[in-house]
């Protein structure tokens, strides 16, 4: 029976890719291990090797096709003796493949908002500019991914200030493990785009030392999970030295990289450090959701004279948003943003949590519960004033985060509402969080461990007594 070759998933978060090139032609003999095609993911160009032996019977997806979903059949391999007529309409393998795809990419029930681009586009907020006075109405918007926005922010700041440089694992020649630093080496050279050995503690400390001497390092952690190796330098050296020196010496440094769960990478690679870093005096902590905020806040972070923890999210890297087309788009640090107005319940989140929050707000609107959705954007200093203003109107607060509940961002917001908005609350604050367990690997358990739209909808209904 002919064997279908499926579009492979070549990274934990890959949902689709471009079929760049067929190396083998129809009629060619293929052996296990032969490179048959090249696939472009959002991160790299990868070779696809044949697993089975036979003849390349038919190419189903021509080269140059963009956005081929993972597990789409792309070719058929015929066994010895079979001819093209054997290519029947047996789609059972493909359907099976599709089911596997649904469980391996984060596209199941737990995260439907992350799967089809159409759904994502539908839930993206209208560009809100009222909190960002830099953007005058009528400013042209361009669509770009979070990944491109971050890269542009770094490139613009490196052009502007010679003392800014990027260092980290695979940031230069490899073009970034997640392609965030793509093209920087070509423009700025190896002096300013520095590939480091795998040595987080050492290069974090080296970066802080360089900042003590007046340079402005951008230290990329391949993921913040690996920054635990370096957390002593981040906290004891970067965060505390300004205070310990009586204001004499500080460090203008940005530690950035993907934070939190990606997809199916299990406990050691899926931790959300938002609450950890937001605990520390002497640090600024930023966790943007949209590409515009990623750009405007990363530029602000690089210019800031303090150590900044800039928490990105791997799943958001490939998501596109409208970004103001401005020469120098810098946003204020420490300012939350009302992304969707409403008056029945306030939902507060940040980073990828916003995808659940916005989707839930749409679901709630269908039930005539109008949620006001606030993106914190900066976690320290925390803009509780914006949350309090909203709670004064709604009397209810639901917080959403992928991190653990104990001592989390939601816990902090709940405490602040007790202190600052107690008389306005008509219901207890409810937290929707990641579950109190290390992140499991199995797809169904991973979905259960993360917050879901349904949990937010239920929480909002509970606090509005519906």
């Amino acid at each position: 029976m002919p064997i279908q070759v499926l579009m492979p998933a070549l990274s934990p978060t890959m949902e689709k890719g471009n079929l760049a090139k067929w190396i083998k032609k129809e009629g060619d003999t293929v052996k296990s291990g032969d490179v048959i095609a090249e696939i472009e993911t959002d991160k790299a160009t990868m070779e696809v090797e044949a697993v089975d032996e036979g003849t390349l019977g038919k190419i189903l997806v021509p080269e140059g096709t963009a956005d081929v979903a993972v597990n789409t059949p792309i070719a058929v391999i015929l066994n010895n003796g079979e001819d093209a007529s054997a290519i029947a309409v047996d789609n059972s393998d493909a359907e099976e493949g599709q089911r596997v795809a649904e469980s391996r990419a984060p596209v199941g029930e737990g995260k439907p908002e992350l799967s089809a681009p159409a759904v994502v586009a539908a839930m993206l907020p209208e560009p809100q500019t009222q909190d960002d006075p830099e953007v005058v109405p009528g400013t042209e918007m361009v669509t770009m991914t979070v990944r491109e926005a971050l890269r542009d922010a770094m490139a613009e700041e490196m052009r502007r200030d010679e003392s800014v440089f990027v260092m980290g694992e695979e940031v230069a020649e490899y073009q970034g493990a997640y392609k965030v630093t793509q093209g920087l080496l070509q423009e700025f050279g190896a002096r300013r785009v520095v590939d480091t050995p795998i040595t987080e503690h050492g290069f974090a400390g080296l970066g802080v030392g360089a900042a003590f001497a007046g340079l402005k390092p951008i230290v990329e952690f391949m993921t913040f999970n690996f920054a635990m190796q370096a957390i002593d330098q981040i906290i004891n050296s970067a965060a505390k030295t300004l205070y310990m020196s009586g204001g004499q010496m500080g460090s203008s440094i940005v530690f950035r990289g993907p934070n939190g769960a990606a997809a199916r990478v299990a406990a050691q690679h899926s931790q959300d450090y938002s609450a950890w870093y937001s605990h520390i005096p002497g640090l600024i902590v930023i966790a943007p959701y949209s590409a515009a905020d990623a750009k405007g806040l990363l530029k602000a972070a690089i210019r800031n004279p303090n150590p900044v923890i800039f928490l990105e999210n791997e799943i958001l890297y490939g998501h596109a948003f409208p970004v103001p087309k401005l020469d120098d788009y810098v946003l204020p640090i420490g300012k939350a943003k009302v992304v969707r107005p409403g008056n029945n319940v306030t939902i507060v989140s940040f980073s990828i949590g916003m995808t659940y929050a916005l989707k839930a707000a749409e679901e709630l609107a269908k039930k005539h519960i109008m949620a006001e959705v606030i993106d914190l954007r900066t976690l320290r200093p925390l803009d509780s004033a914006t949350v309090v203003e909203s709670v004064k109107k709604t009397g209810r607060l639901v917080t959403v985060e992928e991190g653990w509940p104990q001592s989390g961002i939601g816990a902090e917001l709940a405490a602040r509402m007790m202190e600052e908005a107690f008389d306005y609350l008509d219901a207890p604050v409810v937290r929707v969080t990641g579950k109190n367990v290390p992140m499991p690997y199995a797809a169904n358990l991973e979905r259960l461990a993360l917050p879901s739209v349904a949990e937010i909808v239920d929480a909002a209904k509970a606090v509005t007594y519906r």
């Binding site: 400390g205 030392g209 360089a210 340079l215 002593d232 004891n236 050296s237 020196s245 009586g246 303090n306």
Partner: protein, 339 residues
């Protein structure tokens, strides 16, 4: 084994430079600097006992020749960074004894306005970058200071001091690797005072020759008599020249000794009184200089006594200032967190 040994030897810097004789002026300068540190530390110990200095207080007594000799090898603009046994380094960097002592007593006139204490003091003006309380952290930081020199294309070097204890921290080797890989102008000065708190080198270190600790990174290293300020200076000259020429890092193991406990609260039961007395009587860094000055008739007893008096005055004035300066204003609690 033979091959491995040969590789190690190849990686070290060959013959240690001989202790070149000092001129009279150099001997007198070294004597004065070392004596200032000694008297300052004795006073700090006394004030700790009186309750004027709190927390941890790590005295440098016995190790004075190391910082004084190394400082003599530097030029304006070179940087210094060290761990928590830092008072001597600050005085050698020409920081004001009043400001250092007032920081020890937690007063507003201290270098960190009273907010850093013994282990956390800095002077960007004097190129002293701390004063770091986490064992080994200053090694990565100092490597970063050297990175900044290379980035800017200047010829400054960074002296990065750490002890035999810190030499067993992982980030030291992460730093060694990057420093040699990128040819950073950093001199790692390992102050081997034989004890990491209460654990002797023999009990904590598989390789007790610290000059070889950079061997697997091809960083040259030398063992130096850290009690002889002339040997330290000569080694410093050689290492500084190596770095300024763009050859990358250099390791100097300074064999030295601390007379006092690890900190003021350490009864030092892990060594005998005789061991301490032997070093003090036979090998004291200050006594060595004093003897040479007298032997060569470069100074009389009276002249040295006069220097002694000047130093005591400086130290007493620092103690006086640090005792009577006001504590920081309560409003300082919330300043300098961010800028």
């Amino acid at each position: 084994m033979a091959v491995a040994k040969k590789t190690q030897e190849a990686a070290v810097g060959g013959e240690a430079p001989r202790a070149a004789d000092f001129t009279r002026e150099q001997e007198l300068a070294a004597y004065r600097e070392m004596l200032l540190i000694r008297r300052f530390e004795e006073k700090a110990g006394q004030m700790y006992g009186m309750g004027l200095i709190g927390g941890f207080c790590h005295l440098y007594i016995g190790q004075e020749a190391v910082v004084v000799g190394m400082q003599m090898a530097l030029k304006e603009g070179d940087q210094v960074i060290t761990g928590y046994r830092d008072h001597g380094h600050m005085l050698a960097c020409q920081m004001d004894p009043k400001g250092v002592m007032a920081e020890l007593t937690g007063r507003r006139g201290g270098y960190s306005k009273g907010k850093g204490g013994s282990m956390h003091m800095f002077s960007v003006e004097k190129k002293f970058y701390g004063g770091h309380g986490i064992v080994g952290a200053q090694v990565s930081l100092g490597t970063g200071l050297a990175f900044a020199n290379k980035y800017r294309g200047n010829d400054h070097v960074c002296l990065t001091y750490f002890g035999d204890g810190a030499a067993n921290q992982g980030q030291v080797y992460e730093s060694f690797n990057m420093a040699e890989l990128w040819k950073l102008p950093v001199i790692y000065v390992i102050e081997n005072n034989r004890y990491a708190m209460g654990t002797s080198v023999a009990r904590s270190s598989a390789q007790q020759d610290f000059s070889k600790r950079g061997a697997s990174f091809n960083i040259p290293g030398e063992q130096i008599d850290g009690m002889d300020v002339r040997a330290v200076k000569a080694a410093g000259d050689k290492a500084v020249a190596w770095c300024r020429e763009g050859n990358g890092p250099y390791i100097l193991e300074m064999q030295t000794y601390r007379y006092r406990g690890h900190s003021m609260s350490d009864p030092a039961k892990y060594r005998t009184r005789e061991e301490v007395e032997k070093v003090r009587s036979e090998n004291d860094p200050i006594e060595q200089v004093r003897k040479r000055l007298l032997d060569k008739k470069w100074a009389s007893e009276d002249e040295l006594k006069a220097i002694d008096g000047e130093i005591r005055t400086i130290v007493n004035e620092a103690a006086e200032f640090a005792t009577h300066d006001a504590e920081p204003d309560p409003s300082e609690l919330y300043t300098d967190v961010l800028r």
